[in-house]
Amino acid sequence: MTVMTLIQAVNDALKHEMRRDDRVVVFGEDVGVKGGVFLATEGLQAEFGKDRCFDTPLSECGIIGTAVGMALYGLRPIPEIQFLDFIYPAFDQIVSEAAKMRYRSGGEYTCPMVIRSPYGGGIKGGHYHSQSAEAYFCHTPGLKVVIPSTPADAKGLLIASIRDEDPVMFLEPKRIYRTLKQEVPEGEHVVPIGKGRIVREGKDATVIAYGAMVGICEQAAELAAKEGRSVEIVDPRTLVPLDEPLILDSVRKTGRCVVVYEAPRTCGYGAELAAIVAEKAIEYLEGPIVRVAGFDTPFPYTLDNLYMPDARRVLRGIQKTFQW
């Protein structure tokens, strides 16, 4: 075990897989000499050379388009999109090409690749360095969507994503890149895609959260405990495919459900979670399913601390499920 931050765990996973599998290549803007603007790829070019870790021209469309070509030819590309907010020029390549290749070719051609990108607010980045765009990708059949919330999960999930045969959107909550330190297994460490985790056990209400919101919900759970309410937190870890049994079992046990996400509320991934719980566990619910989310505005700059759900908003969400 080594104590690592989330960003170090990402770096560790990349190195581990690059050593193991020479098909793995890493590329994107500033990932070479600079090692990425967040230093996720630090040291990769020095160790693996410019053929396996390289800077690209400033074109997200080009980055993903060429990644598709490389994957078709048998490489395992791990393109980095510097900020998820800048992924939109690549949207067509992701949604129309990478995601649909297996299906449209009857399984003849596939696009195993991991698109890594930092996402989410909390770094004073204004609306072009803060967005949570996961829902667009969850809405696209053919893509898997993975979001770690701890250093150990970041490593284990990234390794699993790289070994996966389908294109994976690996979204990294940049707000907690360096704020969390945790023991991470050295060497081989795989966290399977499609398996969530119980962050904290409780019996009165289930809070579902992923990415940087997990920590916020832990704070809220402490506040709720002071009010005598025992909160269980579930982190799905992969949004697609989703560990439904874990979530439904928890909700069936507690009878209450709060869904927390920092993306805009309307059509956010939490809406899907709420719908699944309503469809499959409504007979167990003792109060309404409550969503605590970002507002339906672009992400602000000065007031970003008010935009993102904080512990008091999550706490109020928890209280609401009891007011029935």
């Binding site: 074109s59 980045g125 204004g126 507002f295 700059y301």
Partner: protein
């Protein structure tokens, strides 16, 4: 492949070759100089404020003053500018209120953008300076479209757009130039080739050494100019602007310059480029170059310099004081301007936020890029 020409007007001693001087009058030359100096001072002050934690972020344009100020100077005040984040001198040239710029850095209530964007992402409609976006290159096709509209309306305006060497790789560079050429739109594309896109050098950005040559494939002239020579930039852009206004279509101007400082307040360029090159470019400082020219023409002396520097500093410092005495925008402003009128679901969300009790979450985080 090389571009058609590379123009310098002022040599290193401040002398001008015969027939190349655009012959601007004394007052105008001094005004240009003053704007360049003020831009430099503004950069220095802003970087200090950022280091002191008083503003969150900044993008310096140090070394690129001639490139953006000289080009914008070739326009009429009514022409439209589609900037990137690295042309802070243009608002100064066009007489924007300094308080508006500085309030934008702070994101305080006096900010036209209401604290919604990161520092230097100005929007200054009164001077036809269109809202700056972070995504690279998007403004390039906007400028083409605006110029197409000017043409459809039979107006004699021109659009000028700015972007870096990195932006030539973007989809919008291709679309923008292609559309502009097809519709002979009155637009001037100014590519400020400062040799770096954060840590990526031009050599890793493009298969061509020069950006101006790309124009040919789209069907428009491409011109390379010494971007640290304000008079050369002005001359080349003046020609391009006049061409556009005459209805002869777009031009791509490549200003060859250098980003003397970090990409932004959070970048450390020593990690990816060597000090010797930076030193070399320091000797080609656009402000010193222009100063020597003015000196030759007896339009510059120590007293003028002192006065330029001091008045720039005073103007900026007073504005900082005024801005710092104001507040953050009210929470309700977060919900405004999403739509023309606030729909019910946003009203509900706003009420939800305003009814919260207890202290808000702390302001945290520092921008890493």
């Amino acid at each position: 492949m090389t571009a058609t020409k590379y123009l310098s007007v002022i040599d290193k001693d401040g002398k001008v070759a015969k027939g190349k001087d655009p012959n601007l009058d004394a007052e105008e030359l001094r005004r240009l100089y003053r704007v360049m100096v003020t831009t430099r001072v503004m950069d220095e002050r802003a970087l200090v404020l950022q280091r002191q934690g008083r503003i969150g972020f900044y993008v310096p344009a140090t070394g690129q003053e001639a490139s953006h100020i000289g080009s914008a100077y070739a326009l009429r005040d009514s022409d439209w500018i589609f900037p990137s984040y690295r042309q802070p001198g243009i608002p100064l040239l066009r007489g924007a209120k300094i308080d508006h710029l500085i309030a934008e850095w702070y994101g305080y209530e006096g900010d036209i953008c209401k604290g919604r964007q990161m520092p230097v992402h100005y929007s200054l409609r009164s001077i036809h300076f269109v809202s700056v976006s972070s995504p690279i290159g998007t403004q390039i096709s906007h400028a083409a479209g605006c110029a197409m509209a000017m043409r459809m309306r039979k107006h004699d305006g021109v659009a000028m757009t700015y972007f870096g060497d990195g932006a030539t790789s973007s989809n919008d560079f291709h679309s923008g130039l292609n559309f502009a050429a097809v519709y002979r739109a009155p637009v001037v594309f100014v590519c400020e080739n400062n040799h770096w896109a954060i840590s990526v050098p031009v050599s890793a950005q493009s298969g061509t050494e020069e950006m101006a040559v790309k124009a040919e494939a789209y069907g428009m002239p491409g011109v390379r100019v010494d971007g640290n020579d304000v008079l050369a930039v002005y001359r080349v852009c003046k020609e391009a602007v006049e061409r556009a206004r005459r209805g002869e279509g777009p031009t791509l101007v490549e200003t060859v310059t250098f980003r003397m400082g970090p990409h932004s307040s959070s970048d450390d360029p020593s990690k990816y480029r060597d000090a010797a090159t930076v030193e070399q470019w320091k000797r080609r400082d656009p402000i010193q170059r222009f100063q020597r020219y003015l000196q030759q023409r007896r339009l510059w002396n120590e007293a003028f310099e002192k006065e330029c520097q001091e008045s720039a500093r005073a103007t900026i410092n007073e504005a900082i004081k005024r801005v710092e005495a104001t507040n953050k925008p009210a929470p309700r402003t977060m919900f405004e301007d999403v739509y023309m009128t606030m729909p019910p679901h946003l009203q509900e969300q706003m009420q939800d936020l305003l009814s919260l009790e207890g202290p808000a979450a702390a302001d945290e985080g520092a921008f890493p890029l």
